[in-house]
Amino acid sequence: MNIQFRESSEAASPLAVKAAIADCDIHPARATRAELYPYLAKRWQHHLEVYGVHAYQGMMEGPPYPKAQPNASRRDAYPPEGGPQGSSLSFMQKQLLDPNNVQLGVLNPLNTGQGIRNHELSAALCSAINDWQIDKWTSKDKRLKASIVVGNEDGLSAAAEIRERAGDKNFVQVLLLSRNVEPLGQRRYWPIYQAAEEAGLPVGVHAFGFGGNPITPSGWPSYYIEEMVGHSQCQQSALASLVLEGVFERFPKLKMVMIEAGFGWAPSLAWRLDKVWQRLRSEVPHVKRPPSEYIREQVWWTTQPMEDPERREDLFDVIKWIGWDRLLFATDYPHWDYDEPSRVLPAGVNDDDREAFYLGNAKKLYGIA
């Protein structure tokens, strides 16, 4: 390893923005697997030691493609006390929250127990992760709020977990992943949407997951870069399914957040859906309005990875269609494709839109005073 750090590596960036911001996609990590044991019944601790965790995908544990950097993370994000990137609250405060004036940070833990074949184990692991989020993060720093992680492939146990956490101010959304066993509009996932709607919690759909299907619609690709851009294709399938299965019609107060899959594709997907819906609506009579209406009313978008067209006007055109009131700023800390708050939005945005983009929309959606 030929990496060498400055001694002051964690020091605040001089470019940090001074106005308060929300960061709607932060990934806390566990230093060790045993960190979860205090929240897991002995039965499941033993199960993990003996049998491990089995995902739906046909490969061994771990992601199907090696990531660009260790743990897919910034190389300067290793905590000084050791452990993986994102595993230290004090270092996260020093490197992310303090210098960037983060007023609200939404935690989205990954590799949690979602999307594994043993549904009882999945439910137990997700519940343990939720307890761990309170103990280690949200109770120790009031700026941080957690997402309720649920065993997504078993809608009923997922709904039970949501109902148990409902009303707990440590949590501000329900977390799903984009790659699942079936497209996200299918009936098996409806209990999740029902419980989330009842609890008044948005449902975030974060890129990734281990659903067992190829990670592009046309099969397994050769390169990690194809997986990266494949997230938007996967999210488009999920969104089309949510609209066309009638999820938004059935749950009109449901709010969905599309996390880490871009947003530049949203207008064209909506235009295509509207066009074919006009011709084929008799196939899906439960979709009573043009698909774009559901999308614009019930969907929010996190910004990272922020689209970066050559002409900033192109970006502004897309955002204008989506709405400046629909974007939620996110860094994706500590992951390697992190967006730096002070550098991500081109000049030429008025103060109201800028404030909404960086903070206002998130506070409103997540109910933070």
Partner: protein, 137 residues
């Protein structure tokens, strides 16, 4: 253009780098197999501390299926987004027209010459018998 003494040559072995701040500018000096290179330690993309990244080579391809890997240890890869720059020139390989890291020439001078310079005494205890790595900016 002022000369700044970085270190005595025998305290700056090959394969290491030194981080310093000169006139408020974050700079890193590399010793690559006895050659010295200086770069601004700030990525022109989103501002990360560029010089904390790993040193890699340059993968290039004339045609799909043919891969050439050169400049081993001479390409710095940003610790955040992996953007690659040539430490000899600061040139970017993904968008050389728009992005370039400021490069600072660094070289070795005999102790007898640096001890005469006006900026020496404050920064380092000069031993006249040694050679020193010097950067100009």
């Amino acid at each position: 253009m002022a000369r700044h003494v970085i270190a005595a040559v025998d305290e700056f072995p090959p394969g290491t780098r030194k981080f310093l701040e000169i006139d408020g500018r974050p700079i890193a000096i590399f010793n690559i197999k006895g050659e010295y290179f200086g770069l601004m330690n700030r990525c022109p993309h989103q501002g990360a501390a560029l010089c904390e990244g790993p040193l890699i080579g340059l993968a290039q391809s004339k045609d799909p299926g043919e891969i050439e890997y050169t400049k081993l240890g001479e390409i710095i890869r940003c610790p955040w987004h992996g953007w690659e720059f040539d430490i000899r020139t600061g040139q970017s390989y993904c968008d050389p027209r728009r992005f370039r890291v400021k490069a600072y020439p660094a070289h070795v001078e005999p102790g007898a010459s640096v001890v005469k310079g006006p900026y020496v005494a404050e920064t380092i205890a000069v031993k006249v018998e040694s050679d020193y790595v010097v950067v100009e900016l």
